[in-house]
Amino acid sequence: MPWRLSSRLVVNHLATAVCGAMVLVAFVPLVSLLWLVISKGAGGLSLGFFVNRPAPMGEAGGVGPAIVGTFFMVGMACLVAIPLGVGAGVYLAEHGSRPFPRTVRFLTEVLSGVPSIVVGVVAYAVLVVPMKRFSALAGAFALSLVMVPPLARSTEEFVRLVPVTLREASLALGVPAWRTSLRVVLRTALGGIATAALLAVARGAGETAPLLFTALNNQYWSLRPDQPMASLTVQIYNYAISPYESWHEQAWSAALVLLMLVGLLNLGARLAVRDRVGGRR
């Protein structure tokens, strides 16, 4: 009997050790990736890197147009994606249990799984073909399609966090349901919705595939929505697959810039939810 007991304990400890090792295994790529992006990318960062446009091979160029392009296209995408995504999320939270909203929710979940490259093909068919040219507009359209489904889902979750009692108190005071939704429920969920929106922006800023054959790329400064536009992600891709060592170095530096941008957005998202929803509950 004592022997049996100890063999069971051995199995238990072994299983614990194996599962614990998996935590370490998961950390290896994360640490390696962050360390290499920082160590390889930091050397190339200078003021010029942020404000100059890409230079021919061998000269010190920058990613200025790409940074502006990323902000420009994500900003344009937000104009459509935030009203649509937040609206759909509020709709799902308020009407969630009837058959039609259930279908919409299921569709939203499935849509968040649609590969972003497929969305790029759709944007190509909708905008690039009729306009007969690659354009920032098509890129922004593709980005907005990528951003809407996850934004709707996370908005719904944050709106659902608002206690029912708040809504009931407002209704009991005779406030109409729509004003209750708008002024009480949504106002309480505002921090959460800001978090959802910032996460969607971060997601859009990190997307490459939907931009490849919509916005394409641009070596020059451009703010015209009907012209091709550079973006950080496409710039990183083009530099990385080029055969030149100096462009590889710039790819690492651009990746560091992109990681900092995405990291800041994620940090902002955390702060927004901590200040609002967390503070009031």
Partner: protein, 334 residues
């Protein structure tokens, strides 16, 4: 079953017509009606988005379907845009192989990690590890591609692939010249990228397992591992399968990181060391340079196949996850 947040609106909407107040009373339902109609319109926008995706893909793919036919397209193994030969099989094969490698690597790691965090390890680990997983999920795929191309591929080329060839070379999977670029590299990068998805969904699933089940097993004298084995895993299995399917769906559609490390050469090769091609990668590389409606159509057709695969996987995953959580609700109600 009603969710708590619904009760307000639905009961208010139901009450409103039955209390026609004098004067201003009539304005209240009107405001509600406008609000509800507006929200429903925006919600229906999602149907439109889904319709748009399917319609535009099909429209673009139509010329290729007309000139090639569905069956030769899906089963053809020759892809030569110049000769207008379009067979999707090499890309399907590459997509399936890389995703399978990714799942085989990521599933044990993420489930082990989730079990350790939720059931075994100390509580103070939960926050930092969750933070790390979220960070892993937030890194853009092109950065994974960069890392894969310049860090992972050289490591695979020498020592990893020669070592695998020496020790496991009796399997056809681990034969051939160690190039670095190929199915194995893509599979590993994909595994890292889908790890956060599987791990976080598994953690959510483990959270729904009733405490009573754990306590019951422990009270009967089970060790932690036996408790996991007896009461948690059977309960959480559909949810974990759902998590794995979600991860698989992400792996199938991942583009940039794969395009950068798979070698981009269409073919059907048994060795994991050899370069290949996947559906999203060929779209990324050829779409902007596609000439002619048939080539473009064939690429859109690949997109349609990819869309079908991911939608199926995601639907199945959601179904499995709903099954797990609803079983919990039924048991809680009983």
């Amino acid at each position: 079953m009603r969710r708590p947040a619904d009760t307000g609106v639905e009961s208010a909407a139901g009450l409103a017509p039955s209390q026609p107040g004098p004067g201003g009373g009539a304005a209240v339902p009107a405001g509600d009606r406008i609000w509800n109609v507006g929200l429903t319109a925006i919600g229906s926008g999602m149907l439109l988005v889904a319709g748009l995706i399917v319609f535009e893909l099909s429209r673009t793919a139509a010329p290729a379907v007309a000139s090639i036919g569905v069956v030769p397209f899906v089963t053809g193994s020759d892809w030569d845009p110049v000769a207008e030969h379009f067979g999707a099989l090499p890309f399907l094969y590459g997509t399936v192989v890389t995703s399978a490698v990714a799942l085989a690597l990521a599933l044990p790691v993420s489930v082990g990690l989730a079990l350790f965090l939720a059931e075994m390890g100390p509580a103070f680990l939960r926050r930092p590890v969750s933070f790390a997983i979220e960070t892993l999920a937030a890194i853009p795929s092109v950065v994974y591609g960069l890392w894969g191309l310049f860090v992972l591929v050289p490591v695979l080329r020498s020592p990893v692939e020669p070592f695998l060839a020496r020790t496991l070379g009796f399997l056809p999977l681990f034969r051939g010249p160690p190039i670095g670029l190929g199915y194995l590299a893509a599979g590993i990068v994909l595994a890292i990228m889908i790890l956060p998805t599987i791990a976080s969904v598994t953690l959510d699933v483990l959270r729904t397992v009733p405490v009573a089940l754990r306590e019951g097993a422990l009270a009967l004298g089970a060790t932690r591992w036996e408790m996991i084995h007896i009461s948690i895993l059977p309960y959480a299995r559909p949810g974990i399968v759902g998590a794995a399917l979600l991860g698989l769906g992400r792996a199938l559609g991942e583009t940039m990181a794969v395009a950068m490390v798979i070698g981009n050469s269409p073919g059907i090769r048994a060795s994991l060391f050899s370069p290949g091609y996947t559906l999203p990668a060929v779209l990324a590389n050829e779409f902007s340079e596609a000439t002619g409606a048939v080539h473009l159509g064939a690429l859109a057709g690949l997109g349609l196949v990819l869309l079908g695969l991911t939608v199926l996987l995601n639907a199945a995953a959601r179904l499995m996850l709903v099954l797990t959580t609803q079983r919990f609700m039924r048991k809680a109600a009983a």
